[in-house]
Every structure is written in structure tokens, then in C-alpha cells.
């Protein structure tokens, strides 16, 4: 009958180890959960995080304004994710601005998760993203003759934006013209309103609490912590039960 004390010892050892592993995250989840429960009273939805490195991690960088000159016009993207045609706001664009090209009368602005089709007078024709068939994340945009080519997963694809078909690969060895980013003229920059602060403490805490701050890995990690806490509860109950039976 030495089996039961051995089982209790094993459970106790693993309960302690898993508890140690989970401790930091339990405290983090508890603190962020309590703060989120009172976010309005604490003003967390009205206070903004002023850490440029974190804004950069979210894909926004207000210290530089990426801009591309297409003919006489400039396309740029502000820190709050809006693309401007000179000083005229066009549309939101998800992800960093990777490049822009002009083919005929149409301008194309490529962000990591979105492609904007813009007229030569700065009107948005269409916004294309993964939900409408765009391969994402995009890493570059270029022109092969007059055809728009997009790079995603290190592969250049020809973009047929009438039929929304991105399945044709660019021929090997073909020249792809890309535009280099430039410095947005001060005269235009001054006319673009400085974006309001956008990363609130509430959003940061929500992303931290749900694990979304780390993308999919973070969500899976929070799931793992949940399983870990479940295991702790089960091992705790098992130890209590075995200890109670031993006492009788």
C-alpha cells in the first residue's frame, strides 16, 4: 500500500512545478482583468500609451512618414494607418506602406494587409484585402510593363484586379520596376493633420489579457495557460481527495 503516498508525492511535485510556471501569467491575467473591469472609471479608454517602440510593434511608426512620389503626386501613410494623396485623405490601409506604383491613370498603394486602388485625382476606387482575395502579408509591389505585380511569401504574382485573380506567378527573370520611398515635401507634410493618439491603455490591456498582443501565438499561449490552470485545479482536487482518504 505504498502506491498512494507515491501518487500524492508525484501530484504534489507536478502541482508545484505547474504552479510556478503559471504564477506569473495568473498574476498578469488577474491584474489586467481587474483593470479592464474598471477601465472606464480608471480612464484607460481615454489615456494613450506613449511608447513609440510599442506603436512600431503594432505596425505604426509616427517618427517617419513613408511616402512615394508618383508623377507630380505623393502617396503617404500616417501613423494611424490612413493613406494620403498629397494632403487629401484617401482611406485606411492596414499594415505598413510597402510601396506604390502607377499604371496608366490608376495609382496603387500597397500596405502589408491591404491594396488601395486610387484615381489620379486621389479618389479611392477600391480597397482590396485578404477577405476579398488579396494574398497577405504583402512584402512589395512593382510593375512588369504595365501590369501590377505583388510580392507575398517571397513570390511575385501578377495582379488581375478586374477578376481579382492573383494566382498567376510572374515569369522568371523578368524585370520588376519598383519605386523607392522618398521624403514627403514639407509643404504637403504640414497640411496632413497629426494623427490623434490611438493606442489606448484599454486596448493594450485587452490585447495583453487575450494574448492578441503576440498574434496567434499569444492566443494559443493564453489557451495553454487556461489548460494549465485547469490541470492545477484537477491535481489540487486529486491531492485533497487522496489526503482525505488517507486520513480516514
Amino acid at each position: 500500500m505504498r502506491r498512494r503516498p507515491r501518487l500524492v508525492g508525484l501530484l504534489w511535485r507536478w502541482h508545484r512545478r505547474l504552479g510556478l510556471l503559471a504564477a506569473f501569467f495568473v498574476l498578469l491575467l488577474a491584474a489586467s482583468g481587474i483593470a479592464l473591469n474598471h477601465s472606464s472609471e480608471l480612464g484607460l479608454d481615454r489615456d494613450f500609451v506613449d511608447w513609440p517602440w510599442l506603436s512600431r510593434a503594432y505596425g505604426d511608426d509616427s517618427s517617419t512618414l513613408p511616402a512615394y512620389q508618383l508623377g507630380k503626386h505623393w502617396l503617404s501613410r500616417t501613423a494611424d494607418g490612413r493613406v494620403y494623396f498629397d494632403a487629401k485623405q484617401v482611406a485606411p490601409c492596414n499594415g505598413n506602406l510597402l510601396g506604390a506604383v502607377q499604371s496608366g491613370e490608376m495609382l496603387y498603394a500597397a500596405c502589408a494587409e491591404q491594396l488601395l486602388l486610387i484615381t489620379s485625382s486621389g479618389e479611392l476606387v477600391e480597397s482590396v484585402n485578404a477577405s476579398t482575395g488579396l494574398p497577405v502579408p504583402l512584402t512589395a509591389i512593382g510593375l512588369i510593363d504595365a501590369t501590377v505585380a505583388l510580392q507575398a511569401e517571397e513570390t511575385w504574382r501578377l495582379a488581375d484586379l478586374d477578376s481579382m485573380d492573383f494566382s498567376n506567378l510572374a515569369p522568371a527573370g523578368v524585370m520588376i520596376n519598383q519605386f523607392a520611398p522618398g521624403q514627403l515635401p514639407e509643404t504637403i507634410r504640414e497640411l496632413i493633420p497629426t494623427p490623434n493618439q490611438w493606442l489606448s491603455w484599454e486596448r493594450l490591456l485587452l490585447d495583453l489579457h487575450s494574448g492578441r498582443l503576440l498574434g496567434r501565438i499569444g492566443v494559443l499561449w493564453v489557451d495553454f495557460i487556461g489548460i494549465l490552470l485547469g490541470s492545477l485545479a484537477m491535481s489540487g482536487i486529486a491531492m485533497w481527495w487522496l489526503h482525505r482518504r488517507r486520513g480516514h
Binding site: 510556471l21 506569473f24 485606411p92 492596414n94 477600391e126 477577405s131 484599454e202 492578441r212
Partner: protein, 180 residues
């Protein structure tokens, strides 16, 4: 030299894993994409092959949409898919800060199905669940531009719920335009 006890090694291992995971905090945040265009179309057009069409907006049609449902897309053109009398629309609107993408099918002037294709906001993602989207099934556009029945909201997701309602109203209005 005395070998390290096994439990000490395990504790150090656990600490290393913890630190390694916290080091990921500099990773960028990604949007939640639940359903792609092709998956959505396959889901809603199970027994027919839809054709893709484009609807162009003029200043007049945009003004008419705003007058009818209070909202119009900012782009000059919008794609939709049609098979027989059913139309499918992929619409995007901002809830609080980031765009929400919905796929909505309309048949006989009624919402047939709504799916959340992508959600990029930090809060309000509960609208993706069927308990919420099912409320739209069968609703029509009332003469005042609102839906024929009120939609139950979700605590903490008010702006996302409003965006979903706006998009449903616009899909019904757009369907009426292309069917007439």
C-alpha cells in the same frame, strides 16, 4: 562538483520558458481573419456558381445610399457576387478604430446569412458568433432605412454591433439597386 538536483533543473527550465514567452511582446499584432472570400462564397453558394459583378458609385448613388440607410462606402466601386436572385456582398466598416469585414447574402429582399470575415478591433469580436449573426437572418429593410426588427446588442461591443447593422442595411439597399 556536485550535480544539480533534478528539481532545480526543472525549475530553471520553467523560468526559462516563462521568460522566453514574455520576450514575444515585441511581436506585431495581427488581424483576425476568420473566413476568406472563396470560403465565404463556397459556404453561401453551395449549389450554384456565382458571377462576380462590379457596382460603380457616383456622387448621386452615394448620396442616395446615405439618404436611405445613413451610410455609403467611400470607394468608387464595390464587388458583389450573384447567382439567380441571390446576391453576396463583402462590406467593410470601422467599428471603433479598425475595419470590420462582413459577408452578407441577400435573397428576396431579406438577409439570408451574415458572416464576419475579418475583425481587427480589440473589443467586440463576439459579433462573429452565430448567436449574434443569426439575428439578421430574414430581416428586411424598413421604409425608414432601418432593419425590420431590432438587433440585440452585446455588452462592450456596441460600436461593432452598430457597424454590423449599418452594413446589413447597406447590403439590403444595394441588393435592391442591382435587382431593380
Amino acid at each position: 562538483m556536485r550535480p544539480k538536483p533534478k528539481s532545480r533543473r526543472l525549475h530553471r527550465g520553467a523560468l526559462a520558458v516563462t521568460l522566453w514567452m514574455t520576450a514575444f511582446t515585441a511581436f506585431p499584432v495581427f488581424a483576425e481573419e476568420y473566413l476568406g472570400r472563396d470560403d465565404f462564397l463556397q459556404l453561401v453558394f453551395t449549389d450554384s456558381q456565382p458571377e462576380m459583378h462590379m457596382l460603380w458609385f457616383t456622387e448621386e448613388t452615394r448620396a442616395a445610399a446615405k439618404a436611405a440607410v445613413g451610410w455609403a462606402p467611400t470607394s468608387l466601386r464595390l464587388r458583389y457576387w450573384q447567382a439567380d436572385a441571390r446576391t453576396a456582398w463583402i462590406l467593410e466598416d470601422i467599428g471603433k478604430d479598425k475595419p470590420i469585414t462582413l459577408g452578407i447574402t441577400v435573397s428576396s429582399k431579406r438577409v439570408e446569412r451574415m458572416e464576419v470575415l475579418a475583425f481587427r478591433e480589440s473589443r467586440g469580436w463576439e459579433i462573429r458568433y452565430p448567436f449574434f449573426t443569426r439575428q439578421f437572418n430574414g430581416l428586411t429593410l424598413a421604409p425608414d432605412g432601418y432593419l425590420s426588427q431590432p438587433i440585440d446588442g452585446i455588452t462592450g461591443a456596441t460600436l461593432s454591433v452598430r457597424a454590423a447593422e449599418r452594413m446589413a442595411r447597406l447590403a439590403l439597399w444595394l441588393d435592391a439597386q442591382v435587382q431593380s
